[in-house]
């Protein structure tokens, strides 16, 4: 089994790119792969806890928690989060916050890197 590093820079609300990333992460973990998820830019929105779910907006807290309980390693860009007012005290439990070099460190030993950017 291998390691997949996923980077996603798109917003939780307003795009389904993060939904895609989470589904792919879940599918990879089901097959026994280790998965790191890096969220940067608007993607850090996924790291905020207690978002009220509405059916008109993507809401990933539940699947994210389930995948983290199974070993998904999630890290948010700290500067990107802070610039958006997403502070440590409202970060979802289990989500780490580091600077951008964490992503590159994760890529170092990844068998595959899947970078979802491009908005």
């Amino acid at each position: 089994m291998g390691k997949l590093t996923i980077g996603c820079f798109a917003s939780l609300v307003g795009s389904t790119n993060l939904d895609f990333a989470i589904k792919l992460a879940g599918a990879a973990m089901e097959k026994g792969h280790k998965v790191d998820l890096w969220v940067s830019g608007n993607g850090t929105m996924i790291s905020i806890k207690d978002q009220r779910p509405f059916k008109d907006y993507s809401s990933l807290e539940k699947p994210l928690k389930e995948l983290m309980a199974k070993g998904l390693n999630v890290t948010a860009c700290e500067a990107c989060a802070e610039s958006r007012g997403y502070h440590h005290d409202n970060t979802l439990e289990g989500v780490k916050r580091f600077s951008m070099d964490w992503y590159l460190g994760s890529c170092f030993d990844a068998d595959r890197v899947f970078h979802i950017g491009g908005e």
Partner: protein, 99 residues
């Protein structure tokens, strides 16, 4: 290189796919990219299907848009699920590109 490219838009804003010349190219149509597999404009299928590539389209994203494998207009496009994407990424290709 063996590259698998993910196309998530129907109207592409970049021409990167035209330039990539990998030894092996896979194109996975996801999100609004699935329309390339199902839609004809003025009777013509999408020119995105003209590359020398292996083509795939994500079943979940077809269904989300009211489509299914029955709507796929070219038999060279294979309908796949997320688990299949994982297998393609790990077993068939060595690099990925989200375009």
């Amino acid at each position: 290189m063996k590259l698998v490219a993910f196309v998530s838009d129907y109207k592409m804003t970049v021409d990167t796919l035209d330039r990539l010349k990998p030894e092996k190219l896979g194109i996975i149509l996801v999100q609004n990219g699935v329309y390339h597999a199902t839609t004809k404009e003025k009777g013509k299928p999408s020119s995105l299907l003209n590359y020398s590539a292996d083509y795939y389209v994500l079943q979940e994203d077809l269904e989300t848009r009211g489509l299914s494998g029955a709507n796929v207009i070219d038999s060279k496009v294979k309908v796949i699920k997320f688990g299949d994407i994982v297998d393609l990424m790990f077993n068939e290709y060595d690099k990925t590109a989200w375009l």
